[in-house]
Symmetry: C2
Subunit: 143 residues, 2 copies
DNA sequence: TTTAATGCAAACAATTTGCAGTAGA
DNA sequence: TCTACTGCAAATTGTTTGCATTAAA
């Protein structure tokens, strides 16, 4: 039987994740965790995040060439994202604001474990400016 | 004024894209293009694909650590995807099968240019087998 | 004790970029 | 002609992996 172990580093990663709604990436999470446990490696952060994603506790926003952003599902609440094409800022969109998406048109027998909905577009700041805002983890909802 | 030029390599990339509904990645597209124009570089393929994505002609499916898959929007028709977590197979889901998604709950002033909807889950083949199918470009809708 | 989880560093792979040369307009 | 586009190769960068060690159960 496989056995999942409760470790200090795993707890730290989860804690950082829960405390942030800024859609952090692995490197940022790593830095935060190191403030508590200086010896934790980036590899461990990645492995822990993978496990959390598999468990459905954490959701990812993946963009080619850019670091994956991780999003803790607070209270198991579903929500979706609006991603600015220009500056990379990510905004939360409450799932309640959207209708339940029926799983029609799927291949016969496909078992859905999660739905990912992303609105691509231009955020208010970038829409109004010539020079787009700088993307970053710290900066969020920059409007 | 910027000027977009019609080049042989760009035409070849578009042609390959239009001919395939298998959600190919850049390397596969490159190989196909080279069958016609052996000198075309992978860099050019990437640059061309980027332009097509910007123009909204092509849609991407991005997964961390894996190659981005490119999907030509035939007839400008919107459609979404079902991605198998186990083998990576990608299935098309007709947009008609889904309700129009209202853009409520978005940040004030966010201009939506595209919606990306992905059903994550397990495909019929992987659900029924212990050992998952091999993911690949050639293999599509393996049920 | 048993073996999952870790830290470290090296390996990998996808994508981007600088630059000199090519070819559309 | 003019300059967008190309090919090439090197550089980046996010992510994964092998292995000896540590620590949770």
């Amino acid at each position: 039987m496989t056995m999942v172990r409760q470790t200090r580093q795993r707890a730290a990663v989860i804690e950082v994740l829960q405390a942030s709604r800024a859609h952090p990436d692995a490197a940022w999470i790593h830095a935060q965790v190191r403030a508590q446990l200086p010896s934790v490696s980036l590899g461990t952060v990645y492995r822990t995040l993978d496990a959390l994603v598999r468990d459905g506790v954490v959701v990812t926003i993946e963009r080619a060439g850019q670091a994956t952003r991780y999003d803790y599902r607070h209270d198991g609440q579903d929500h979706h994202h609006a991603v600015c094409r220009s500056c990379g800022a990510i905004f939360d969109v409450a799932a309640e604001a959207l209708p339940v998406i029926p799983t029609l048109g799927l291949p016969e027998g496909f078992q859905v474990t999660g739905v990912r909905l992303e609105f691509m577009g231009v955020c208010p700041t970038c829409a109004g400016t010539q020079n787009p805002a700088q993307a970053g983890v710290a900066q969020r909802n920059h409007h």
